[in-house]
Amino acid sequence: MLFVKLYLQFLKIGLLGFGGGYMMIPLFFMDIVDRNNWLSHEEMFNIIAVAQTVPGTFATNTATLVGLHMGSIGYGVAAVLGVVTPALLIAYLADRYVRPYLGSPALQGILKGITAAVIGIIFATGLRMMHSAVVDAPTMITGLLAFVFFYSRRWNVAAATISAALAGMGLIYFFY
């Protein structure tokens, strides 16, 4: 049953998505593309790019688009429900039973280790995506612009992405 498989797959991705949506990017490529062959690498990359530019949270936008690409809004709903299920568990269990221990050195140590690894994995994911997306001078300038726009912290993710992409479209148009 594809609905159930999608739900479980996105539940797994949601449970591993420490540090927010960006940690989920490598999991999307691994589970949706490599393991299940539901989408091609190209399609997945396009979805990630679009999910980041529309309002709302990245994880659920991606889930919606994956479902739609696979042919039905029902798949999208199953995927969204899967990826938000951990949040519901956290609201109930973590806020009540784990919060008192959140300050303990042991738990803080574990979380620090995981956070450090998440940052490393996100950086590696960016490098991997760079190989397929940055292919010439215009795309390189576009990527650099997005980096600078976002890193300057004046703009949020969507504003930085859209501005850099618009500049990039102009560059590509005039370059070729």
Binding site: A49, T64, L65, A87, M130, V134
Partner: protein, 154 residues
């Protein structure tokens, strides 16, 4: 998103900034998008599991609708050549954002060489050797428990 969440927590729960920061600490420490987790926690405190569900749907549905609408537009525009240019540019921009996000997070949370070592190790294991993120995160949790549990370890 965060300022809105804080306003709701203040108005509906009477939470001060300290309490809101605690909610965010829980939301951030557990897997999943921080905004969705925080909405679920605030919703749960307001109205039990129904509140949590309402909170999650509230932050999720607008994006789902926007993404679906854009998807329909993209399907309609699939034959035009500018769409190709647009996705090429968008993908390049996303690379910059993802790298910027990693550097930003690193600046904020790498306060000692031990964190940096774990981060670099995770990057190499994933980038060069394609080790599964699940295994890397488990290993990092264990390393963190052993080496980062002391307050001076950053």
């Amino acid at each position: 998103m965060l300022p809105y969440l804080e306003e709701i927590a203040r108005r509906e729960l009477g939470a001060d900034s300290d309490e809101f920061l605690q909610i965010m600490a829980v939301a951030q420490s557990f897997p999943g998008a921080m905004g969705i987790n925080a909405a679920a926690i605030i919703g749960y405190r307001m109205g039990g599991w129904k509140g949590a569900l309402a909170g999650v749907l509230g932050v999720t549905v607008p994006g789902v609708i926007c993404a679906s609408g854009l998807f329909v537009l993209l399907v309609l525009a699939a034959e035009t050549s500018w769409l190709d240019i647009a996705t090429t540019a968008l993908k390049a921009a996303v690379v910059g954002i993802v790298l910027g996000m990693a550097v930003n997070l690193g600046n904020r949370s790498w306060k000692g060489y031990r964190n940096l070592l774990v981060g670099i190790a995770a990057m190499l294991l994933f980038y060069r050797f394609q080790i599964s993120p699940v295994i890397i995160l488990l290993g990092a949790g264990v390393l963190g428990y052993i080496f980062l549990s002391t307050p001076e370890a950053g």
